[in-house]
Subunit: 301 residues, 2 copies
């Protein structure tokens, strides 16, 4: 089934205790699209880059059969850049710099050929822009949104309005607590479902993920990782695997949502095994199925 | 199968955002024994109390068929007291006071009738005392030990010696990282297994628990709790449910260890629903089975 992905494309400079990546391909739209491309087609990307965006990155996205008609290029502008440094405890990171560049003026325009996309993922961008995307789409089957502390604290009212139009919200545990003003995660989840999205996924990093709907609570384990090289993009990769599986199976039942959470977790586990998007480059459907089964072994009793 | 429990008996004064308990029955040996008493018999308790230990507490332990021959009473002494205050976020607590009283001179003496206990739980006491207990036991089938930051930091060498005699170590995630000097939990777990105990359980509070052996890693979910009234004793109750199930089934295979982790988690979820040991007072085997099944629903996909 058709999948529309809107978000950032970035050049990331990342330092972890295990190494360094310089101006590597990144950004939410990239991680989401690439992860989803192992499951479904067509994938339609909407984003913005500068004249300095490398041809090798374009080639890679083309190779993954990602439709770039919606990719806006500003020849005289510079691509969004982010730099972060992870500590020995990889749960802690410092942002070294954020250069929004062309991304500052991003105003997503959805090409005509994208307007009937059945599945939509709104990466972590201004909630006003997320809504503007939805105004340009005709009756999608499922809309998934991501957000972050920056918008929860800085544009709360706009975000609350956007939440009404989402079917699925994917956030992490600290964001859920902040959004609901509630330290208990289960109460926070139920409160957030009351805000609009009937399906909530709370990512808990090394502790796995929770799926909460009106009918079920599902607890997905985290894949036991001894070597996490670079956590960048894990959350977006989760979203890509999750929506990729849903779009492929075209089934949004509670039981299939659970499977989608496991596929999302599996893709995220591949992502963090290498730097940047390297861990998502040479996967096969067989490798992904093996990891899916490893999650079953991990939690079955 | 016979189960020996060594640990503290205490009078706890607890404040949480939901209420207060004054000099309520507590202590590791109490929570472990009471939780295990829903699964197996006989349960043999070794601990120490003062002349002020209430008769109602003795009656309650007798009602749960817990053998108190090993309970030392010092008529002129006072019972161990602990007081803690939990914050709005129940993961954070302040110790208001600790009065060791008779517990300061605790030197566990194992009655002759206890020496052939098949299963042994060493609550969180000085690792030197834990070893002294084991010297008085004849060939137990399984020895489980608990410890804490205080001993990991303060008596590391003694603890490392004790670890060699444990089959199972139950600790929480921050203790595991501290013990192994390793932030990655999976690597920490493997390192700790190298220290002696071939079975390691890492409790992660609201994120569930990990079981790690030479052969498997098992991730148990946490029961989704909207109302946690008092987290005191949850860890000991987990240990009691865990060992209770193992002693009942007399099977320490990896598959049965997984079930034991779920029974431990189930008992802990009952514990925190009420103050002190109230949540463990009126359980039935049917209620426990229902909660076990709820854990299955929670993690099955």
């Amino acid at each position: 089934m058709s999948l529309l992905v809107v978000g950032s494309l970035a050049l990331d400079t990342i330092e972890t205790p295990f190494g360094k990546a310089n101006e590597a391909l990144g950004g939410s739209a990239v991680y989401i699209s690439v992860a989803a491309s192992y499951f479904t087609a067509p994938i339609r990307l909407v984003g913005i880059v500068g004249g300095d965006f490398p041809q090798s990155a374009i080639d890679f996205l083309n190779d993954r059969s990602i439709d770039l008609e919606g990719l806006e290029r500003i020849p005289e502008g510079k691509t969004f850049r982010w730099s972060g440094k992870y500590h020995y405890d990889l749960n802690v990171r410092d942002t070294l710099f954020t250069q929004l560049n062309v991304f500052e003026k991003f105003d997503p325009k959805i090409p005509d050929s994208y307007r009937r996309s059945k599945y939509v993922v709104l990466g972590n961008i201004d909630p006003v822009l997320q809504r503007r995307v939805l105004e340009q789409i005709e009756k999608p089957r499922l809309v998934i949104g991501d957000t972050m502390n920056f918008w929860i604290e800085g544009k709360r009212n706009e975000l609350m309005e956007t939440l009404k139009f989402l079917n699925v919200l994917i956030i992490n545990d600290s964001e859920a607590r902040l959004l609901a003003h509630e330290p208990n995660l289960i109460r926070a989840a139920k409160k957030i479902i009351g805000f609009g999205p009937k399906i909530l996924i709370i990512k808990k990093g090394e502790h796995g993920a929770l799926l909460v709907t009106d009918n079920i609570i599902f607890s997905a384990p985290a894949y036991p990782m001894e070597n996490i090289y670079d956590p960048t993009g894990a959350g977006d990769t989760f979203a890509g695997g999750f929506i990729g599986w849903l779009a492929k199976s075209d089934d949004v039942s509670d039981e299939n949502l659970k499977k989608a959470v496991i596929y999302g977790s599996a893709m995220a586990s591949f992502c963090v095994e290498k730097f940047s998007i390297e861990g998502l480059k040479d996967l096969t459907y067989l490798k992904i199925q093996d990891r899916f089964r490893a999650f079953k072994d991990l939690s079955d009793f």
